[in-house]
Each structure stands twice: as structure tokens, then as C-alpha cells.
Amino acid sequence: MSTTLEAGRGRGQQPPTPPPPPSPPAGGALRRSADWARRAPLLPALVFTIIVTQLPFVVTLIVSFMDWNAYYPDERGFAGLRNYASVLTDVNMRRAILVTVVLTAVVVLVSLLLGMGIALLLDRKFRGRGVVRTMMITPFLIVPVAAALLWKHALFNPEYGLLNGMLTTVWRLFGSDSPPQPDWITAAPLVSVEVALIWQWTPFMMLILLAGLQSRPLDVIEAAHIDGATNWQIFRYMTFPHLRRYLELGGLLGSIYIVQNFDAVFTITSGGLGTANLPYVIYQTFYQAHDYGRASAAGVVVVIGTIAIATFALRTVSTLFQEENAR
């Protein structure tokens, strides 16, 4: 094997003299048709995927450069960058961008932290670990709309919600008949949405981080113990750097999904009280204002934002860890 490699390298250094490696002239066409025989059955799926995923995006991109409002059918035409200008200058749109950023950042960071804590607890051996793990995952399995409804009605509702019910019970224990009964969603609308999303996304982060924890090489941890590291130092110098990739992955996937979140905002607050994020505003522009051009432009902004967040998150986290290791 190595000798052939050597020979190949030698040939590269003195190109003119030896002939190029012989390629089978008759076999070429034959192999090409064989390749196609293998690929052809895949074509329908490929075409279908392109039609379903790529064409809508291209159409959105085209529409985003057009004046196209269903209420003004006569004014349809090329708009240049006008839609983008209005998306980026409109106060509501700018606010929606800010809300999206805050919502995504808070939900991803908090659910990563909680997920890591729970993953560390679940990494130990105890009776019923399998059952507990399955139960911890269930929030992620619930349909997003159902989860949002659950939080809105079963938990946050000021009249019959679980939170206020608990407050009543606790206050009664201490003999008080006038427990506080806050209207959670009105008092802290964005936090309410965030809490519901964190509840749903923590299991996802936990799963990824648990997989990371369980792929830690045991002998390295043992070596660190022998080198005198305490449990905290092992976490700090061994476990955490090892989890780096998994944290990146969780943060990245979480950001991409939560930037696009619509269900929770729509269900819990209907975008009111300053909780409208970009997807919700797009929905409003498209289905209520019927301004397809502006909605498409906002949609393209979301895609660009998602790509930016993904890239930015990846860069920061990597450099952070590189500095960490350099020390």
C-alpha cells in the first residue's frame, strides 16, 4: 500500500516522462451507464424534495422583490428593495426582530443550563433511571400547540390554573384567605411564552447532553481522579470541554427552531403585549394584511437571521472554548 503511494508521489514530482495512469477507455462509458442505473431510481425523490423544499423558497425570494397585496391586485409589479426597506424601518418589524432575538437567546440558554443539570443527574445510576429518563423526555414529544395550550389554560390561567391553585393551597396552609392571584400572562407575557418554550426544549438539550456525558471516556476521568482532581475540577477540565461539541449542537439546533417559533406566541398571547416575534408578524402581514410582498421579505429576513445566528453562535462558542483550552 505504502509503496504504491510512494510511487504515485514520485510520479507527481516529474510529470513529463511517465504516461498518465491508464483509464479504461471502453469501461468508462459502461461504468457511466452503470452509475446512472444506480442513481436513476433516486431521481423521483430528489425531484420531489426540490419541488417541496427549494421551489417555495425561490418563489418567496421572488415575491419579496414584488409589490403584491391581495387588496390592491392592480398594483402588482417589481418593487426592488422597497419591501426590505419597509421591513427594516417599520417600528413593529424592528420590535419583532428584537423580541425574536431575546426569546431565542433566553430559551436556548436557560434550557441548555437546565438540560445540562438534569443530564448530569440522570448520568448517575439509580433505580428507575429508565422510567425517569422517559418521563423527562415527554415534554418534547407533545405537539407544540398542545403544549402551549396546556401552559395557557392548565397552568397560567388566573381563575383555574395550577399555579394560582397552588398559591391558594399554600396560603390556606398558613391560614390566609386572600392569596395573591396574579394574571401571569398579563403580568409577564414574554416570560410566560419563554417558560412554556423552555419547558418544551429542556428535554431536547438534556438528551443531547446526556449522549455527550455517556460518551465520555471513563479512563480519562479515572486518570484525572488519580491526578488529584476533585469532582468539580473534573467537570471543569474534563467533562465541560468534552461537552463542547454537544453544547454547540444543542444551541444551534435550538436556535434554529426557536427563531422560527410560531405556535407558542400565537397560542399564549396571540402576539399581544409586545410578544410578537418575526414569524408571528409574517403571519399577520400575510394572512391579515394580505401583503404578500412584505411578508415574503420578512420571511427572507428570518432565514438570513437564522443563518446569521447559527454562524455567530458557532463562532463564539468555538473561540470561547479555544481560549479556554489555550489557558
Binding site: 479515572e222 486518570a223 481522579h225 488519580i226 488529584g228 482532581a229 468534552h242
Partner: protein
């Protein structure tokens, strides 16, 4: 520097009745190089991990110097370990790997740099200090693992089959380097291996374990020349000792045409046991190629001849004994003159050199006087 004492230390894994290490009694002197050797599953690695604090000690005690470390955590035992897989910290550079223990211990940066540089010089690792482990070859990684241990100047080095992932040539080279390094540092070392050549060449003393029980602990030469029982006799030496059941007849041990006169001491010991047969062991080099007429000579059909240049080993079978050859089975190994090796399929005659046989009790397997 310190001595190490296993005081009837046992390890019983949860869910198992049988101890993995059973009442191990072992004294390792200050500065000694002790090798734990045995077949896989014999408890040698477990014994080492008990000393490292990676396995609980269920009964008995372990002491390092005068300190009872039985219930101490690994980090408080002042030991360093080289793992079979090396267990290098993958996200740290070679330098950081070697300095990690010192950093944890709060040693100043200058001091760490100095000590890491010192160790790197000893181990020829200076050009690699800024590399990550994955950019190193197997041999270099092995040296980093060694470096990580010596930087700390611990009281005891523990090594768990550190050479088993190296190729054969590098293994022989590194073997001598480790032995030389240990002599130079004079740090008490416990070394686990399944390779009896490593055990023989490296250890001041070698402890042979089987099924959690210490069979014999002695210098390599004594293990070879005076194995305490049949197991040690068969385990030490390569190729292994020929071991067979011989009948007792008129003060002689007899197997087919092979005859061995026995000493009075051996006969007395055997008569005490009322034995009518005896286990006889003889090393491949204790056999002479002779002619048929010589007394005690027995025929052997040559199966294979391994020619190693300096030696040649004849693997043959005894034509007279197809069935009941006992532990010897059908094959016998003899060292023959490499200049004139017998041909395959030839029938030759062998004789056991006088006084070179080992006798073992058929009931207990223990060594008998010869």
C-alpha cells in the same frame, strides 16, 4: 518513595460470590519494580486498581509506606498511573497533559513549566509539547502517559499493561527504556502485564496470579527455576514447560519408554501422599536429541520445527501415547540445535536431562523436592 503492602486485600464485585482478588498478601519494598502477571481475568488489573483507589477494597487493607490508604480517595494517595489506553486528556496539549496534576495541586506556573520541560527531556518529547494527543503516534502517546506520571514524582507508579498497544519492535525497545527509567528514578513501581516475557525482563520480582489468588511471588529467575506449583511452571517460560503425568514404577517415573530415576526425597514425599503417579515438568531446553539405544530415550514424531535463527523448537507427538498423556496432551516441545534441525515427519529420540526435571504432587499440584 514508599513501600506498598497488600494486607489480605480482597475485592468482590457486586453480584458475584467469588472474589476477583482473594486475600492478596504482598509486600513491595521501597524502590522495587514488581510485576503482576497472569492470564486474563486473573485479577491482576483489579489488584492494581485497588491500589489506585479505582476499585473498593472489600476486605483487608492496603498501605503505602505507613499510611493506610484502604479508604482514601485516589487523589489523596500520591500515586500516578499509566493506563493501557494511555487515557490522555484529548483536548489538552502534551504539555498541559503532563502539567495537569501539578496545576490541580496549585504549583506555580514557572515550576510547572520547569518540571514538564525536565520530564519532556528525559522522554524525548520536547518537540511535541504543543501538540494535541491525537497528532502523536502510539509510541509518543505512550511516552506522554509516562511523562504525566513522572512529572508528579509520586510515591508509587502504577502501570496497567502500558505496552500492549505498541507494535512488537517498539514494545521491546520501550520495555528496556521503562525499566531503565525506573532504576534511575528509584520509584516503587507496580506493573501489570499478561506478557510473561515483559514480566521476566522488567521486574525485580514477579507475582503470578490466577483466579484472584497469588500463586507465587519471587525473582524472575527463581520463578523459572523453581516454580512453586504446576500453574506457575506452565505459565512462566516461552515456549511453555512440557508437563505430563508419569506412573511410579520401582522408584522411577515412567511414561511410555521415558524413564526418570527419582531421588529419595521425592519418593518419600510421594509415598506420604500414597501417590501412584507424579506430575513431571521439563523445559524444552532440558531435552537432548539422542539415539534410540540410550537409556530413557523416548521416540517423538516431529510435527513442526520452528526455526528462529538462534533457536529451533521442535513440536512433536509421542507415538506411544495417543490417549492418556495427561496435561502434556499429544505435543511435546523441545529445543534443538538450530544448525541441524530434524526434518518434519522424522522420528527422533529425546531424553530428559538428568536433574532438570520438575516434580509436582499429583493431588495438590505443589512442587516436590528433586
Amino acid at each position: 518513595m514508599a513501600s506498598v503492602t497488600y494486607d489480605r486485600a480482597s475485592r468482590i464485585y457486586p453480584g458475584s460470590e467469588k472474589p476477583a482478588v482473594d486475600a492478596l498478601d504482598l509486600q513491595i519494598a521501597d524502590g522495587e519494580f514488581l510485576v503482576l502477571v497472569g492470564p486474563s481475568g486473573c485479577g491482576k488489573s483489579t489488584s492494581l486498581r485497588m491500589l489506585a483507589g479505582l476499585e473498593d477494597i472489600d476486605r483487608g487493607a492496603i498501605r503505602i509506606g505507613d499510611r493506610d490508604v484502604t479508604h482514601l480517595k485516589s487523589k489523596d494517595r500520591d500515586i500516578a498511573m499509566v493506563f493501557q489506553s494511555y487515557a490522555l486528556y484529548p483536548h489538552m496539549t502534551v504539555g498541559d497533559n503532563m502539567g495537569f496534576a501539578l496545576k490541580i495541586a496549585g504549583v506555580s506556573k514557572d515550576e510547572i513549566t520547569k518540571r514538564v520541560a525536565g520530564a519532556a527531556k528525559i522522554l524525548d518529547l520536547e518537540p511535541f509539547l504543543d501538540r494535541k494527543p491525537k497528532a502523536l503516534s502510539g509510541g509518543q502517546r505512550q511516552r506522554v502517559a509516562m511523562g504525566r506520571a513522572i512529572v508528579r514524582s509520586p510515591q508509587v507508579f502504577l502501570m496497567d499493561e502500558p505496552l500492549s498497544n505498541l507494535d512488537a519492535k517498539l514494545r521491546v525497545q520501550t520495555r528496556t527504556q521503562i525499566a531503565a527509567l525506573q532504576r534511575r528514578l528509584a520509584t516503587t513501581t507496580v506493573y501489570v502485564t499478561h506478557d510473561q516475557v515483559e514480566a521476566m525482563t522488567m521486574g525485580d520480582r514477579v507475582a503470578v496470579l490466577r483466579a484472584g489468588i497469588l500463586e507465587q511471588c519471587d525473582t524472575p529467575l527463581r520463578l523459572y527455576q523453581e516454580p512453586a506449583n504446576v500453574f506457575v511452571a506452565g505459565f512462566i517460560g516461552s515456549p511453555g514447560m512440557n508437563i505430563a503425568d508419569f506412573r511410579l514404577e520401582d522408584g522411577q517415573a515412567v511414561l511410555g519408554r521415558a524413564r526418570l530415576p527419582l531421588t529419595t526425597a521425592a519418593l518419600t514425599a510421594l509415598s506420604k501422599e500414597n501417590a501412584d503417579h507424579v506430575v513431571v515438568g521439563f523445559r524444552p531446553e532440558s531435552l537432548d536429541l539422542v539415539t534410540e539405544q540410550v537409556a530413557g530415550a523416548f521416540p517423538v514424531d516431529v510435527g513442526v520445527v520452528e526455526e528462529l535463527g538462534s533457536d529451533a523448537f521442535l513440536h512433536g507427538s509421542l507415538p506411544e501415547l495417543r490417549q492418556d498423556a495427561g496435561p502434556l496432551g499429544e505435543t511435546i516441545v523441545a529445543r534443538v540445535d538450530p544448525a541441524r534441525p530434524p526434518a518434519k515427519g522424522e522420528r527422533v529420540y529425546l531424553r530428559i536431562q538428568q536433574g532438570k526435571e520438575h516434580l509436582f504432587s499429583p493431588s495438590t499440584g505443589l512442587r516436590l523436592p528433586t
